[in-house]
């Protein structure tokens, strides 16, 4: 259980905020977790986690990150409330710190929508994603969750930072269109995938989602193997995984770290660790070893002058990836085989 809590905290450290443009508050929270981390990713920990996911056991030790207690702060601490409110302004101010994230919706929403439309022909007029269940990992303030909800999907947004979840809940509560379709939880992907399937609540557990979206998250994770495993676990067979992240190249170091963080200060210094960037080739390899088949990879380019993103041929800096969970899961067949053998 100690190992589990370690790996939970490691994932948490990664998932701290949606993006290159995190807020000071988020950073403080992250440093709190990093302080608690005792070891670097250990192989034993990963193996244990794999076992947990595969056997679909309930993770009894639900080490919820301490920050989630802030979500019920409304009755408690006025300081927290104020911070909560100031965060709200930051996430949803489309000319503020998260401006580039707002602009990124122009690329990633059509990317997700069109790839899902190719696979699922929905018949709900005016709601292209009607009837689909989507998980938004590292949803932050809900910048991507809301458009997906508007397009008709049932979306669950998860983020380990409780303040962000609070902001997201508040913002989506105003719109009657979204209230019924968009839900948020402060938890990590690991926790979600480890929960018992069924049990009354639709969102949790295994094989529940038509699509998982992890936008601007993977470059903050230390343990991608576990991430890939958990994504596979929560997806229905044939379900889609959408990732947007940053490539690990000299160019991404020059522009993404030196220019963005140190020169232009588009991103607070220290937000990104170049070591954690991953190239599309490596990511593809990782995903395919976790039961995915990568369908497409496309490069994205941010223009700081116009504040707009555009698709580009080069994946040297930012890129978007679409993968599909392969329908035949040999491991599952194996497990079922064992179960049958045990019974007979």
């Amino acid at each position: 259980t100690n190992n589990i809590s370690c790996s939970v905290q490691r994932l948490v450290k990664g998932n701290f905020s949606r993006l290159p443009l995190g807020t000071k508050v988020c950073e403080r929270l992250v440093r709190g977790f990093v302080g608690r981390q005792r070891s670097a990713s250990s192989w034993t920990a990963v193996c244990t986690q794999r076992a947990v996911c595969k056997q679909r056991a309930v993770c009894k030790q639900r080490t919820q990150p301490t920050v989630t207690c802030h979500t019920s702060a409304r009755s408690v601490d006025p300081d927290e409330l104020r911070r909560f409110q100031s965060l709200a302004g930051k996430w949803w101010d489309d000319h503020g710190e998260f401006a580039a994230l707002h602009a990124l919706n122009d690329l990633r929403v059509p990317f997700i929508r069109d790839n899902l439309l190719n696979v699922h022909r929905t018949r709900v007029p005016g709601k292209p994603l009607g009837g689909l269940r989507i998980l938004d990992v590292g949803c932050g303030g809900g910048l991507l969750t809301e458009p997906l909800g508007r397009l008709g999907a049932n979306v669950l947004g998860i983020d380990p930072v409780g303040d962000s979840i609070g902001t997201a809940k508040l913002h989506s509560s105003i719109d009657p269109d979204l209230r019924d379709r968009v839900r948020y939880r402060a938890c990590t992907l690991e926790e979600l995938s480890a929960e018992r399937e069924g049990g009354g609540r639709e969102e949790q557990g295994a094989a529940q989602f038509h699509a998982v979206v992890a936008s601007e998250v993977v470059e903050h994770l230390a343990d991608l193997e576990t991430f890939g495993l958990c994504c596979n676990h929560v997806l229905k067979p044939g379900g889609s995984l959408f990732i947007t992240t940053i490539n690990k190249t000299n160019l991404s170091y020059a522009l993404g770290i030196v220019v963005a963080e140190q020169l232009l200060r588009i991103v607070p210094s220290g937000t990104h660790d170049w070591e954690k960037f991953i190239s599309p080739v490596e990511l593809e390899r990782l995903l395919e070893s976790n039961g995915f088949s990568v369908q497409s990879v496309r490069g994205m380019l941010y223009n700081p002058a116009s504040g707009a993103w555009s698709w580009t041929d080069s994946t040297a800096i930012n890129y978007a990836l679409h993968a599909v969970k392969v329908r035949d899961d040999p491991d599952a067949n194996q497990a079922e085989g064992h179960a049958e053998a045990a019974h007979s």
Partner: protein, 359 residues
């Protein structure tokens, strides 16, 4: 049935120079003229069919607007709130202000508007022609006091738009039917405004041009004469020009005369509004398909930019035309005479004008 327009003839009272806009061989229609009542009836019918999505509150009046803050703050109203005279209130993600040249939406937002009044009113009426004719020509004559235009409605009827001074407009309204009809016919047919100098200069220019370009210019037609007017169809309204410096705010968009107001001499006022509608519809459809909040500034700004770029040149051109034709002074008359004649004879230029007007 919308009446197709094949020819549009415009001429100068002071110099008797004529320009006709026509498509070659009269195969394709240049434009269509549709009576406003017909448009309104058609739209009402469409709205009835869309009753699941559209609710029309007739006979209601707005008394108050409450505007949202640019981004969400605690206790702020996130949407636009509209309070009606009945006490009802509606909250909306996007408010479209289509409330005419004296738009309350625009005024309440405090949007600076460039505007001034022309010292003119327009008199409109339905005209009964003396005899049925293949009525496919729109006529406009520039009198010194302002242009008088006759737009075909059917084989026996045309619509009158006579822009003139406030005083004359009032007088015209007070005339009995017979005198009013005489005034119209006289405005179209009389030659009293022409000076000999201009006439000579004009015909000289015309013959020079025909020597260079013998095939240019269309055969001359004559405007129909008027016998009577439709009962109770005579009204007048003041004219002015106006342009809102911003068409949009957070969660608000202005369309039609609320955003821009022009002189009727080019028959473009309503068309500019239709253009606004087409553009906004297209932009909102795309925004909805991208899951966006419809009231967000990003795509509303696109609408504003696109329409201002189209509307402003058109408005400038119309205003210029109005000023150009508002005078009797010989130099200006000569200038516009030559200009009109030359334009009449250069097909490429006419095509450009027609193309721009039909966008």
């Amino acid at each position: 049935v919308p009446l197709p327009l094949y020819l549009d003839s415009v001429w100068d009272a002071c110099s008797d120079v004529l320009i006709t806009f026509d498509k070659e061989d009269m195969q394709d229609e240049m434009a269509h003229i549709v009576e406003n009542d017909v448009v309104v009836a058609a739209l009402t019918k469409q709205l009835d069919d869309l009753s699941d999505n559209v609710q029309v509150k007739y006979r209601s009046k707005v008394v108050k607007y409450s505007w949202p803050m640019p981004h969400q703050q605690a206790n702020a109203i996130p949407w636009v709130k509209v309070t009606l005279a009945s006490g009802e209130s509606v909250e909306t993600k996007l408010l479209i202000g289509a409330d005419g040249p004296n738009s309350m939406v625009r005024q309440e937002l405090g949007i600076p508007t460039v505007k001034w009044n022309y010292d003119q009113s327009a008199v409109v009426a339905v005209l009964h022609l003396s005899e049925p004719t293949e009525n496919n020509v729109a006529w406009q004559r520039f009198l010194p006091s302002g242009p008088i235009a006759m737009l075909p409605l059917s084989d026996t009827e045309s619509s009158l738009v006579w822009s003139t001074s406030h005083q004359q407009a009032q007088e015209l309204l007070e005339l009995d039917e017979e005198s009013f009809v005489d005034a119209i016919n006289s405005a179209f047919w009389s030659n009293e405004n022409q000076s000999e100098l201009i006439e000579t200069a004009g015909s000289l220019f015309r013959s020079t041009l025909s020597a260079i370009m013998p095939s240019a210019g269309s055969p001359r037609q004559l405007p129909p004469s008027v016998a009577g007017i439709g009962p109770k169809s005579r009204v007048k309204f003041p004219l002015g020009i106006g342009h809102a410096s911003e068409y949009i705010r957070h969660r608000v968009a202005l369309i039609g005369d609320a955003a821009h107001r022009v002189h009727p001499l080019a028959g473009q006022g309503a068309n500019l509004g239709f253009g606004d509608v087409a553009c906004l519809t297209r932009i909102l459809s795309q925004a909805a398909f991208d899951g966006k909040d419809l009231g967000a500034m990003q795509h509303l700004l696109e609408y504003e930019t696109e329409r201002q770029r189209h509307n402003l040149p058109m408005m400038a051109a119309i205003d210029l035309m109005k000023r150009l034709y508002s005078t009797n002074a010989a130099p200006v008359v000569l200038l516009r005479t030559f200009g009109l004649q030359a334009t009449n004879m250069v097909p490429a230029l006419k095509e450009q004008i027609m193309g721009f007007a039909s966008k």
